[in-house]
């Protein structure tokens, strides 16, 4: 008999000590994230206005209360959840709020008549997001329930995607992209929610079909190619993203949906050929889109040489590049730069503001926080016990990673601009609320994945081992 304690929490025998829940680790890190946020806000106030305001205290109490509630709910209703998901989100939201506040101050300095502040609005959105986070955790006690509503959710997702395309432009168009629903002063970007609904659907669908997609294949030049008729779903997903591109002029959502689908197909089947097929379809679609649509051409042109189009479409990227250059390695310091020089710095280009004021070191730190978030999601997917949970966790984590990559690629000039938002960081209610829901689902899956197997246990049919016993003795 080999001695030594069982170290793997999921392998713990029923009688063994409870595996660590690590809730106190989460609480400590959440406290750290709140502290960093408050320090950031204080530095911004001191640097820009030279004094601290009482609003900082109100903000601090509100912000800390938000995460205390989140922590308590997780402690009570998802006790085995991953301890890093929530702190990473808290830090990103906090940094986002600090930068939005900083840009508010810059706007007020430029025009003292201006009293509009976006940071409090974003805080309200964060609160709403948290309410939904709690709601999802309370209602969704087992993530496998979601797979029962897969086709309903697919319909909801498609309707959400289609609404802005069908609405008249006056109700749905902002800056050329028809991706909004604007009602009574509120604007909602339904695509952000469609992303989650469709990811759930993809996961449930692929769990059903993956054997067909993975096994029935022909080998052509060392590549396992799927049969022609199995190409159906990927072609549908591709067609859908093209439709989004045509009717909503939204490069970002189109790229996001197609990317999520192809990667989930790859995860489900372990066939690299799907990635190649996806890449091929993407290249074809991109080429056709470039030929047909003026706005795509414009984006590509201003990506290839932003300074040639400095007075027009390249202005934004060029200003962002100047900002990043000014920031250098260590940045200009919070409140020390001029991030307001970049148009729409609060939403699409908040990464440029981070790069300018915190420098390369700060921007890389933010990217690593995203990396931690995604790593925890993928780890959840690895240790999850059911195939649906595995695929869903992988898809949701990939959605965050892909979005960050595409946005940061756009801001730094690596990729053409797409108009996606930086999750949790950027100003924008729909994106923030939707991503809170996304994280709630991840927390729910990770709770199920890390929970010791004992209560539900290795299935009783292990008695079916009886023949083995006979052979043994």
């Amino acid at each position: 008999m080999t001695s030594g304690p069982t170290t793997d929490p999921r392998a713990a025998a029923p009688g063994a000590a409870n595996p660590p829940k690590r809730r106190n680790t989460e609480l400590a890190l959440l406290g750290f994230a709140v502290l960093i946020t408050l320090v950031a806000q204080a530095i911004v106030d001191l640097t820009v206005t030279g004094s601290l305001t009482t609003e900082l205290a109100t903000f601090g109490v509100w912000f800390a209360a938000l995460w205390t509630v989140a922590h308590l709910v997780v402690r009570r209703w998802a006790p085995y959840a991953d301890p890093l998901l929530l702190p990473a989100v808290a830090l990103l939201v906090g940094l986002g709020l600090s930068f939005i506040h900083r840009l508010d101050l810059a706007a007020q300095q430029a025009d003292s008549a201006l009293s509009r502040e976006d940071a409090p609005v974003q805080l309200v959105w964060a609160t709403l997001g948290l309410v939904l986070f709690v709601g999802v955790l309370l209602v969704l006690r087992d993530h496998r329930l979601l797979s029962r509503f897969a086709y309903t959710l697919a319909l909801v997702g498609l309707v959400l995607l289609a609404i802005p395309a069908l609405l008249p432009s006056s109700l749905s168009e902002v800056n050329g992209a028809k991706i909004w629903i604007r009602v009574a002063g509120f604007s909602i970007q339904p695509g952000e929610f469609a992303k989650i609904c469709l990811t759930v659907f993809f996961a449930a669908y692929l769990v059903d079909k993956r054997d067909v997609l993975a096994l029935a294949s022909r080998r052509v030049m060392g590549l396992e190619l799927p049969r022609g008729r199995d190409l159906g779903p990927v072609l549908v997903a591709w067609g859908l993203s093209i439709l989004v591109l045509v009717f909503e002029r939204d490069l970002g959502s189109s790229l996001l949906l197609f990317g999520i689908f192809v990667v989930m197909l790859y995860v489900a089947t372990e066939r690299a050929s799907w990635l190649l097929i996806g890449l091929g379809l993407f290249a074809g679609g991109a080429l056709v889109a470039y030929q047909l649509f003026g706005h795509v051409q414009q984006r590509v042109d201003s990506w290839l040489d932003p300074f040639e189009y400095y007075d027009g479409s390249g202005f934004q990227v060029a200003q962002a590049l100047f900002g990043l250059g000014t920031g250098g390695l260590f940045g200009a310091g919070l409140g020390g730069g001029r991030p307001d020089q970049v148009p729409v710095a609060k939403s699409d280009f908040i990464a440029a503001a981070v790069g300018e004021e915190l420098g390369l070191f700060g921007l890389v730190a933010v990217i690593i926080v995203y990396l931690v978030l995604v790593e925890r999601g993928l780890r959840t997917s690895l240790i999850c016990r059911d195939a649906f949970g595995k695929l869903l966790a992988a898809g949701l984590s990939f959605a965050i990673a892909w979005q960050v990559f595409v946005v940061l690629g756009g801001v730094t000039g690596l990729l053409p601009l797409t108009g996606l938002t930086t999750p949790f960081l950027a100003y924008g209610g729909s994106s923030l609320v939707a991503n809170f829901v996304l994280v709630a689902v991840l927390v729910r899956i990770s709770d199920a994945a890390r929970r010791p197997a004992a209560p539900t246990g290795p299935p009783k049919p292990a008695l079916g081992d009886a023949p083995t016993e006979v052979v043994q003795t």
Binding site: L29, F32, I36, E270, A332, V372
Partner: protein
């Protein structure tokens, strides 16, 4: 406005704070990966319900299928890892509807064999316990994959 030196302290102090957070997060990741102080490989004690079974010394020499469609099949163990699954390139190709294409792997480390699940759909069980990480397999302990049962023999 605030003095220059204070601004510099803010500037570098805040970056330091951010990286400290990342450092703390990575410590949690590490603790999760390596399970704190104790060693990495968990082991299942041989089943108490099988008394009188003599524990044989020495390294196992064969892998025997004791239940399922392939009952009776023997594989001589060497240094190479043994892949078990429905895929054609597995060492032991299962014809079991409940097995995944790449289901599990047996690896020899220093004369001892460890079983690992390769992300199978229905899981691999060592002595009724679901295999999550690499687990040490003692001779005579049943490994169950779908409807197939295997064990190591000296």
């Amino acid at each position: 406005m605030t003095a220059e030196i204070v601004l510099q302290i803010f500037r570098f102090g805040f970056l330091l704070l951010l990286w400290l957070f990342i450092f703390a997060a990575f410590r949690v990741v590490r603790a999760d990966l390596f399970g704190g102080r104790a060693g990495r490989v968990a082991s299942v004690p041989p089943r108490a319900a099988a008394p009188g079974k003599k524990k044989t010394r020495g390294a196992p020499k064969t892998l025997v299928v004791t239940a399922g469609p392939l009952t009776g099949t023997k594989i001589t163990l060497g240094d190479q890892p043994i892949l078990i699954g429905r895929a054609d390139d597995s060492t032991l190709v299962l014809t079991d509807d409940f097995a995944s294409s790449r289901h599990a792997r047996l690896t020899n480390r220093g004369g001892q064999w460890y079983v690992e699940d390769l992300g199978s759909t229905n899981g691999t069980y060592l002595d009724q316990q679901r295999v999550q990480g690499p687990l040490l397999v003692a001779p005579g302990q049943p490994i169950r994959i779908g409807q197939t049962a295997l064990e190591l023999r000296s």
